[in-house]
């Protein structure tokens, strides 16, 4: 009896991890591909991204403009989980459509939901900044040589669990 329990406990752990792995492997086939644009960084020192290990680009979609909140802006505090609905715009880049602390579902092929966390509690009328996990790009040099003051087009796959996979980075003139 104890034997069976032991084997099942170990087996369950293995199966659980394998299920996770299979779910995550599916992003290449099931994930939605989006292209987003980085913001222009105005700084005096420019450097190539291959000089640093990890790149932290700022995206346009990091800012949620005033009118785009579908839930109450006052309810939002620091480090809250936010669902951001992105919509493909006319230039093929995805921009912020609405943001909410309640779950949002994408409707339509040109819409995608990403998950972020708020950066600070809103006290002013400035757009609230939202952080995404893909603000951090490791090994950016696998996509090419970039400088920090270039505008970059980042292509990534996103899935419903918030999983992401960066597939390409290009400089935009």
């Amino acid at each position: 009896m104890k034997r069976i329990m032991f084997y099942s406990l170990v087996a369950l752990q293995i199966i659980f991890v394998l299920v996770l792995v299979f779910q995550f492997e599916r992003i290449t086939s099931n994930g939605d591909e989006i292209e987003i644009l980085t913001k222009m960084e105005y700084s005096n020192d420019d450097y190539y991204y291959d000089l640093i290990d990890t790149a932290y680009p700022e995206y346009e979609i990091n800012d949620i403009p005033e009118g785009r909140w579908s839930s109450e802006k006052e309810d939002v505090s620091y480090n809250d989980k936010v669902y951001v609905l992105l919509k493909k715009s006319h230039d093929d880049f995805y921009k912020v459509e609405t943001a909410s602390t309640k779950k949002v579902v994408a409707s339509g092929d040109d819409q995608v939901v990403v998950i972020g966390r708020t950066d600070y509690a809103s006290n002013s009328n400035e757009p609230i900044r939202v952080n995404y996990d893909f603000n951090k790009i490791e090994d950016i040099e696998q996509f090419g040589e970039f400088k920090n003051n270039q505008t970059l087009k980042v292509t990534l796959l996103v899935s419903q669990y918030g999983q992401y996979k960066i597939t390409n980075v290009e400089a935009v003139k």
Partner: protein, 402 residues
């Protein structure tokens, strides 16, 4: 059984005629000398495991591919089977350490999977799974160290939730209170009981802060914990819950003294009617149970759980309540020689004095002087009480000798 010690004692028994020489030989032959090669195996396993873990964070391993996870899972299973074998056949202690290593591997594998596939965490579900597996592991082997590690894993989950998401995880709290409490209750061991009680207090604190509840809810939660200590019969768990709940509510009182004077905190203070009603009910129930089933003299503890914030100049009343509690126990336990309650009295008194000192002397004096005088004050008080205790003991000793 230590064979050499047995041999030494055995020869003495033979000399005294308790057993015959032949009997000694028969007994000794039953005990094999402990095989020191176990230690080598454990060390070897440990080293290889560390090698695998460090390798896992290398560039090769960070590639999102199932092969990396397979390697981790193979090692985890290997450790589980090795641990089980050792536990059943050779030595429980070594077996448990291998099993726990495997358990850690499970958590590490989960987190590695999340890391390499870039899956962001927005809740602490891996900790919840890890915690439940810990319960299962303990149900299988019933070894206290397993429960200890499980408790710590669960607590880490809650702490992580508080730090990373500024939110409290109620699922983890539920697993802790329903699952782990059940086991801690039935397998009483002092260390486990205290870890459980402390972990519970910390989790309640995180949950209260993270859900931005008013601080006074902590008083209710700790009162429930105190009430638990009243109804539970297992001695060490009872004491652990008692000490931790009293200490926790005392710390809340100290914070309360200063919060009730800060405009920032007073502005954000909202009184909840639900809280008052619940607190009143629980307080009266605990009072009744304590009064009729236990030592009536201990009812003074409940003074710490009375809300005083509605009184004018409330912080002074809080300080008074702290002193009443501490002085009562100091005097009562010195008089009736209750050693464990004496500790509550001493600590309570020292903390109360410190609070008053910070309250009134912080602004007026040089900071270093504050620490100096504070330290001297504490020495003086403990010296006086030590002397009093000593003289009382001396009296009673003198009485015994007569």
């Amino acid at each position: 059984m230590n064979k050499s010690k047995l041999k030494h004692e055995g020869t003495k028994w033979v000399e005294d005629g308790v057993i015959s020489d032949q009997q000694l030989t028969t007994i000794l032959s039953r005990y094999e000398k402990k095989d020191a090669s176990y230690l080598l195996i454990i060390l070897a396993t440990l080293l290889v495991s560390i090698a695998v873990l460090t390798f896992v964070f290398s560039d090769w391993a960070q590639v999102p591919h199932i092969s990396r996870i397979i390697v981790m899972l193979v090692f985890m299973s290997g450790l589980y089977f090795l641990g089980n074998y050792f536990y059943e056949k050779k030595s429980q202690a070594y077996g448990v350490s291998l099993l726990l290593l495997a358990y850690i591997f499970f958590g590490a594998t989960m987190f590695l999977t999340l890391m390499i596939y870039n899956v962001p965490l927005h809740s602490t579900w891996p900790f919840a799974i890890w915690s439940v597996v810990g319960l299962g592991l303990f149900a299988l082997y019933k070894h206290p160290y397993i429960l200890l590690v499980g408790l710590l894993v669960t607590l880490s989950g809650q702490i992580y939730s508080g730090l990373a998401f500024t939110s409290g995880d109620l699922y983890i709290l539920a697993i802790y209170v329903l699952g782990y409490f059940h086991f801690v209750y039935h397998y009483p061991k002092v260390l486990l009981n205290y870890v459980f009680a402390l972990g519970l207090a910390i989790q309640l604190l995180i949950v209260t802060l993270a859900f931005e509840q008013q601080y006074y809810w902590l008083i209710l939660y700790f009162l429930v914990m105190y009430g638990l200590s009243v109804v539970i019969n297992k001695a060490s768990l009872k004491k652990a819950l008692l000490s931790v709940s009293l200490l926790s509510v005392f710390i809340v009182k100290i914070a309360e003294v200063f919060m009730l004077q800060e405009d920032y905190d007073l502005d954000r203070f909202i009184l909840s009617l639900l809280f008052i009603v619940l607190l009143a009910i629980v307080w009266l129930v605990v009072l009744n149970v304590k009064w009729f089933t236990e030592d009536k003299s201990e009812v003074i503890d409940l003074i710490l759980f009375v809300p005083l914030f509605f009184l004018p100049g409330s912080f002074i009343f809080v300080i008074i309540s702290m002193f009443l509690f501490s002085l009562y126990w100091l005097i009562t336990s010195i008089k009736y020689q209750l050693s464990d309650r004496l500790l509550y009295g001493i600590i309570g008194f020292l903390l109360s004095v410190f609070t008053v000192y910070i309250q009134y002397a912080w602004e007026a004096m040089n900071k270093s002087l504050f620490f100096l005088i504070g330290g001297l004050l504490l020495f003086g008080i403990s010296f006086i009480f030590g002397k009093q205790r000593h003289s009382i003991e001396k009296e009673s000793d003198g009485g015994d000798e007569k």
